[in-house]
Symmetry: C2
Subunit: 377 residues, 2 copies
């Protein structure tokens, strides 16, 4: 299926609406028959043996073919339908959905409606999701802006859900930096939800991508937010929760991140703040890593990079005092020396050397071997 | 050495001043000779073969016997000298100092001067150390008060270093609750350092304990703070850093906690606050556990207690919505049921059940087995 023809496109648009996505059954049928025959099979209520599930999930909608309208609406608003047959299908990112133990409302989307100049696979591949409370505090919004700005400057796609609060602050900061940002919606890409973010969503579509697995016209519904959250997590290399109360949608996205094997970070805040409770809980129980700035967020998605990780810093001499540095420099790279030798080399009083060694022993820079001192490691 | 006589007491007082503590060499000599003969050996500069180190560390002070004065000063201010020969010696807590790889300024104190009505071993055994920046923020002081108050109410000894900032807030909160608190000093117990905390230190001595390994009259000195910090960590079941800048004394106490195998907690704060940087770093690099309230601090020192740990809470049904609880209750303790059966039992619409199950699947309350649902675990 290298060349996409109009019939395929129509068939995918039909299939994307025939079942409430995601639907492994519909995709399995496509895999066996191709999109055109799969669409015909569903329409005619006659599928090969073993594919009965595809009929069950399409029972209510099989008769309604709006594929022409859907594609026309998409065209009109500068959107397109992206399917597994397209080069920009983010197959690598979505693979996690099939591998994870996601019995209910997991699974790959049937297809994705996307609106904007960005290329879906590239943006998803470069994405970090910033999510959090709709009822964000001003602290939360401030941290989000700073984090999103820092990530955008590093070429990261800031992915979020276009909601009020943290989501909006994340998209806005990326846009302010002239960086692409991706909004994954729980409604059709022709809808502006929440209404107060209509202008923001249009700006995202103008400079980045607005994405949805729901056909044009689909209204946001509670279960669709939960289903959408899995896509936010899947189409990002890491998920960072900036503020979350004890129960929140962000906690759901975080749970999806864990299920899908995406590194999960959380930003701490005052322990007196209700909107940081969820973040602290995730960090405390070990399900999220503490993120405090853009480098620590980047390190999360690319753990090989030694950006801002405490482990690396501990042995660095950057934080040593002037005296400590002199003492450190007076110890040779190999072998051990006495305190007197160090004091002589460094030109420092014995007491100063002793005190510096004590601190650097505790900080792990030096170690004592039978009364003599050597550099640790 | 069950009965303590006056000669022993005098000898210990002499030994406690003969070397800058700690001194493994002096203690080793005491182990071999007993305190009276050890003191004589040092005074006469003649020790058994193998104990030459005890002479080296006492070279400058061996001639000065102030033991009578020291004991008299202690008596006068309601203090006493506690040694390994005493029942209240916190031997179990201090054992970590000998076992840890603490080449320099580690090791057990020679003896401890203590002032106050508390019993040293009991207070140390019930202690949690709250430490942090002298330049604390009002947020830091507020959190310290709340944490110390919560711990004091649970019978925990709030241990700290009587410094400005976090230390002072910790002691004050414990005192305000009428709970005992212990200050470990970097100067003699007859000194009030810092001067601005004179009244606080006297209150601690009146209701709890002021402790020091330094003889009466000893002035606070930089290296003594670092040495003192190891005692703060040793004489506590856990160390919690409430605020710490990038470099701070609290980071040194935290390093001692790690060296001594004491659970280390850190309280997060705004990522925009310079006084929380050290805490965030410790949590991010995994050396400290995030602590956000008294129960999470208690859980740190007694991990078997399931107080406030995220893991335990995740599966609790406390946080489920009314619909989710009905769905949860409709699933039997054993075996799996279909969505239809759940909807029937719960008296809820299929869509509501589906949505509740989706959320509870992600939150780990339920799991799907071949299309049917059962309670997780």
């Amino acid at each position: 299926m290298a060349a996409r023809d109009d019939a395929d496109r129509r068939a995918w648009a039909y299939l994307a609406r025939a079942a409430e996505p995601p639907s492994a059954a519909v995709l399995a049928l496509c895999d066996d028959l191709g999109p055109v025959d799969a669409a015909d099979a569903i329409r005619s209520r006659s599928v090969p043996r073993g594919h009965e599930a595809a009929l069950e999930v399409t029972g209510a909608r099989a008769d309604t073919d709006m594929s022409g309208d859907d594609l026309e609406i998409a065209d009109r608003i500068g959107a397109r339908l992206v399917t597994r047959a397209d080069d920009e299908w983010p197959g690598w990112q979505l693979m996690a959905l099939d591998q994870a133990d996601t019995a209910f409302r997991g699974g790959e989307p049937i297809a994705l409606w996307v609106r904007g100049p960005g290329r879906l696979d590239e943006m998803a591949g470069a994405g970090i999701a910033l999510v959090g409370s709709r009822a964000a505090s001003s602290y939360g919004e401030q941290v989000t802006s700073s984090l999103a700005g820092g990530l955008a400057a590093e070429g990261v796609t800031v992915t979020s859900g276009a909601a009020y609060g943290i989501d909006g602050a994340a998209h806005r900061a990326a846009l302010a930096c002239g960086a692409p940002t991706m909004a994954v919606m729980a409604c059709g890409i022709d809808r502006e939800y929440p209404a107060g973010h209509a202008r923001l969503i249009n700006e995202i579509a103008a400079h980045g991508l607005v994405v949805s697995e729901y056909p044009p016209g689909t209204t946001a519904a509670k279960h669709r937010f939960l289903t959408r959250n899995r896509l936010v997590a899947a189409m990002a290399n890491a998920v960072i929760v900036i503020e979350a109360g004890r129960r929140s949608g962000a906690a759901n996205t975080a749970a999806w991140a864990r299920k899908l094997g995406r590194p999960l970070g959380a930003v701490p805040g005052p322990v007196t703040s209700a909107t940081s409770v969820g973040c602290h809980q995730m960090i405390a129980d070990g399900s999220a890593v503490l993120v405090f700035d853009a480098p620590s967020a980047l390190a999360l998605s690319a753990p090989d990079a030694t950006l801002g990780t405490g482990g690396g810093r501990a042995r660095s001499t950057d934080l040593l005092s002037a005296d400590e540095k002199r003492v450190h420099d007076a110890i040779p790279g190999r072998g051990a020396v006495t305190i007197d030798e160090i004091a002589f080399s460094a030109g420092l009083d014995l007491a100063v050397v002793r005190s510096a060694l004590a601190r650097m022993d505790v900080s792990g820079h030096v170690q004592n071997v039978d009364g003599a001192w050597k550099l640790a490691r």
